[in-house]
């Protein structure tokens, strides 16, 4: 067996890795958040219990919005989130005050004494109603509860076109809130340094975003805040806003108390306060002409909850990908993000795609059925192909469109066609024994079997969502060792190790020379957030460009010694050489020292230009696309109401693979999260309150829920990505629930129009 390698594996397997809550500082205080137990939506008339709380033994300070030196409100797009509430509570997760004490227990005790004096406001919990309500506004200043509206208008008048179709289908789908479920809850440790800089450590996904939150709350310049990277115990898109706010609050407490402050969340607080994946309501009307999807009219409502966060970006991706990976002549799409008094929603792995994929990949099969066609055949006829145009008029001609190849490979490794003959379709008629992928034992007679598939294409990185650039620094030492820094963040996915491997591959030196130096926000330019599966793509691009620069610097320093021209200098296999003379890497680095030249290079990767027209929904939305197919096999025990996943096959074109073990780990983990979302994860929302606030009730997949996977890659190095890689984090997740839904349909003979797809026990 080839052995896997990661730079952080040793520290993590020995317990040495220092996550933020594992660290202590001399004289450290503990800070906890205070929530209202009474209100979800109210005007705040005042707070009670502040003095009583301050009188509890050990309490050092009680903090309210009045103590904030900077701005209470912040946000990535719209600054409508209050890090400490000012005049309103808008959802259950709002923080009304902070308590700082010598011990965490003391702070927690004191926090229970504080409550809001409120004037109750009507609860808006249904996005449809909230959208129509012009009187009760969650943010009165905004004039409406609508956060954003994206659209696509392609082709002529959609109703006329639909009326002219051979067949028309109507389908509606609903999806639930999903919790990220990172095992490490939010945590921060802050102290003000003697030089006046607020030093912040914490669990987060985006140090630069965190820095903006901290600086805004403290009212200081960005340069006066330094975010130092610590290991992060999982993110999945969920450690941006909330994690940043926890850091900002801890920094505020440290500033006000003049002592180091730690703020570590309990799981219950984390689930209560952190943003979730958006619930969607999707209404599709699909018109078929011949064997083609001729027209699609779709309206989506996304529940953005009380705050904007990145809802406009999430819903934008749903807009661009509203028809799944299919070519459709006429599209009329409206996607709304809407405020409600539910917990706010934001980035989560998949980012507006899983809801759409869950819907499209089901109605595509319904269309095939309506035409009496094989769903695979129907997909082949309608899917995106080389040089075709997407629904937003983007020509797919700058990379290899491998969707059909990806699907064929998945069909092959899963033995899909043969196995689908065993689908139960709701009756126990097919009782032959067959290999379930788990063992060769015959399947018991009282279970239903189904195999299901889903495909997708996914725009890589941020697209027209935002600024997309990243940098890398290679700092070779004169003894031959190398320090690497990249403006992306290690969330646990192995980003640092991937960067090391890329540097090793591109520069042609031994891997063990390279040490990844996790940069702080004061050491490297803002590289954007490590979301949108962009770490390897963008960070890798920056590394490749830095290597190109470094090679030139080395060549122009050592060429004379190598008795050749600058252009003839090559680096490979740990050697620097020309046609006549060869130096070891160490000799070359030493030579540069003698020449007073720094073997130091900076590299930048700027994403190629993308464009978008908000009015027509026209544009080159993403600079390249990845392709996926996942297949799930289930057994259903109707009596127990239990679904057992017995096989998974996944094939992805994520460009050139940097590290096989790590990319497979992404697929295993991504599918598992998507499957959990599809089949079991439920925050138990009751009147705006999250009842399932710990892992006893918020169930996520366990080892016995998952089978062994078969995973393969189609590796088409992407010409738009300097490293050839495209990213995998999200493709791995986005179609798992859709594949499972189709498998369940093939087992049960009926469809779910919502997730989580929880079966009732038979009575």
């Amino acid at each position: 067996m080839k052995k896997a390698w990661r730079n952080d594996a040793y520290s993590k397997v020995t317990g040495r890795a220092q996550f933020t809550d594992d660290m202590k500082l001399q004289g450290m205080l503990h800070c906890v958040p205070v929530y209202s137990q009474k209100y979800i939506h109210c005007k705040i008339k005042g707070l009670t219990g502040l003095e009583e709380a301050a009188a509890i033994k050990g309490v050092v300070r009680v903090i309210t919005h009045k103590d904030i030196p900077g701005k209470a409100n912040f946000g990535q797009i719209v600054q409508d989130y209050f890090m400490l509430t000012v005049d309103r509570i808008r959802c259950e997760g709002d923080v009304i005050a902070l308590v700082v004490a010598e011990s965490r227990e003391q702070a927690i005790e004191a926090a229970t004494l504080i409550e809001v004096i409120g004037e109750e406001l009507p609860l808006l919990l249904d996005p449809q109603q909230a959208m129509a309500d012009e009187k009760n506004l969650i943010h009165p200043g905004k004039g409406s509860n609508i956060i954003n509206h994206h659209k696509i208008r392609r082709g002529g008048d959609i109703d006329t076109i639909l009326a002219d179709c051979d067949k028309v289908l109507q389908r509606s789908y609903y999806t639930g809130h999903v919790e990220h479920g990172y095992l490490e809850a939010e945590t921060a440790l802050c102290h003000e340094r003697p030089d006046g800089v607020m030093e912040v450590r914490g669990s987060m996904q985006h140090p630069f975003s965190t820095r903006r939150f901290v600086a805004s709350l403290l009212g200081c310049p960005l340069a006066d805040v330094e975010i130092v990277g610590n290991p992060t115990g999982g993110g999945f898109g969920g450690k941006d806003d909330t994690a940043a706010m926890v850091c900002a609050r801890a920094a505020l407490a440290a500033k006000l108390c003049g002592r180091p402050v730690k703020m570590t969340y309990k799981r219950e607080w984390s689930i209560r306060e952190s943003y979730k994946r958006h619930p969607y309501k999707l209404e599709y009307t699909i018109g078929l002409k011949g064997k083609m999807i001729h027209a699609v009219k779709v309206k989506m409502l996304a529940d953005g909850g009380a705050y904007t966060s990145v809802t406009p970006w999430v819903t934008w991706r749903s807009t661009v990908q509203c028809c799944g990976p299919y070519q459709v002549e006429n599209v009329h799409c409206d996607v709304y993000g809407v405020h409600t008094n539910n917990i706010f929603t934001g980035a989560m792995r998949g980012f507006g795609a899983p809801q759409v994929d869950f819907s499209v990949e089901q109605w595509v099969e319904d269309c095939a059925q309506a035409l009496d066609m094989d769903p695979l055949e129907f997909r082949r006829i309608n899917m995106v192909t080389q040089d075709c145009e997407t629904i937003t008029h983007q020509k797919l001609d700058n990379h290899i469109v491998s969707l059909e190849e990806v699907m064929d490979k998945a069909l092959e490794i899963s033995d899909y066609v043969n196995k689908s003959k065993q689908n139960s379709h709701g009756s126990f008629k097919s009782k032959q024994s067959f290999s379930s992928g788990k063992s060769d034992a015959p399947v018991a007679y009282d279970k239903l079997y189904g195999i299901g598939l889903a495909i997708s294409y996914r725009g890589c990185s941020l697209g027209a969502e935002g600024m997309d650039f990243c940098s890398a620094i290679i700092n070779c030492q004169f003894d031959g060792s190398i320090l690497l820094e990249v403006g992306i963040h290690e969330n646990g996915q192995g980003a640092e190790s991937a960067m090391i491997k890329l540097l090793q591959r591109e520069l042609g030196v031994k891997q063990d020379r390279i040490r990844y130096n996790r940069p702080s926000t004061s050491h490297i330019p803002d590289g954007g957030t490590t979301v949108a599966s962009r770490g390897t793509l963008m960070g890798g691009g920056a590394v490749v460009h830095a290597v190109e620069n470094l090679k030139k610097i080395i060549a122009s320093s050592v060429y004379e010694k190598l008795q050749c021209s600058v252009e003839e200098v090559k680096i490979d296999q740990d050697k620097v050489y020309g046609p006549r003379v060869t130096m070891s890497w160490e000799e070359a680095m030493h030579q540069m020292f003698l020449n007073s030249d720094y073997p130091y290079a900076f590299g930048v990767f700027q994403a190629p230009k993308v464009d978008w027209d908000e009015e027509t929904g026209r544009g080159n939305a993403y600079f390249t696309w990845g392709y996926s197919c996942q297949i799930a096999e289930v057994e259903v025990d109707l009596k127990q109401g239990k679904v057992q996943l017995i096989g998974v096959s996944a094939v992805h074109d994520a460009g050139k693979v940097v590290d096989m073990d790590m990319i497979k780990g992404q697929v295993y983990g991504g599918f598992t999260q998507g499957y959990g979302m599809g089949i079991m994860e439920d925050i138990g929302l009751k009147e705006g309150r999250i009842v399932h606030n710990n892992f006893n009730k918020y169930k996520i997949p366990r080892s016995t829920d998952m089978p062994d996977f078969k995973v393969e890659f189609i590796q088409n190095p992407d010409p738009n990505s300097p490293s050839g890689a495209k990213g995998i984090g999200e493709p791995a997740l986005e179609i798992a629930a859709a594949a499972t839904a189709n498998a369940l349909h093939n087992a049960l003979g009926k469809r779910f129009d919502h997730y989580p797809m929880i079966l009732e026990k038979e009575k």
Binding site: A4, V13, G665
Partner: protein, 153 residues
């Protein structure tokens, strides 16, 4: 006098400490921070330690539970010179580590399991790890790691 063996060293437990939650005692008082806190209600397994070679969740135990027992945390699994236990090496080799937050609990629970089960199937391993959550890996490479290490038990 209340005593316990913690990672091979005898330790005298103060009367005042006996009622503390074991996880807090380990993390806050002994600085054994490899023991992680993921839920604090006994359902995620991140806080797992070995008590007389049984995997227990330290967030639902008190310090009084370790009196006269031998306790091993993740810090106590490696050899005296920092040599990795074969199971730890297997977690690295199989690529079973992503964010690493679940890793100490996974390693210790698998260790307890392998001590008692000589020739486990992958299904047995999955059953044994049922009480331990991992949000990153989908479990496959963790099961691979346990399978890889099983040979050295």
């Amino acid at each position: 006098m209340n005593k316990s063996m913690i990672n091979g060293k005898e330790m005298i437990l103060k009367q005042d400490d006996l009622e503390k939650k074991l996880i807090h005692f380990l993390r806050e008082d002994l600085n054994l921070t490899g023991t992680k806190n993921g839920c604090e209600i006994g359902v995620c397994g991140s806080c797992t330690v070995l008590l007389d070679n049984q995997a227990v969740k330290s967030c639902v135990k008190k310090v009084s539970h370790i009196v006269d027992k031998e306790l091993i945390t993740i810090e106590g699994l490696e050899g005296p010179q920092g040599e990795l236990h074969p199971l730890q090496q297997a977690f690295i080799d199989a690529g079973a580590i992503q964010c690493g937050f679940c890793t100490p609990g996974m390693v210790l629970s698998s260790h307890a399991f392998l001590l008692k089960n000589k020739n486990p199937s992958r299904e047995d391993m999955r059953r044994a790890l049922k009480g331990y959550l991992c949000r990153c890996t989908g479990y496959q490479q963790i099961v691979d790691a346990v399978e890889l290490a099983a040979k050295s038990y």
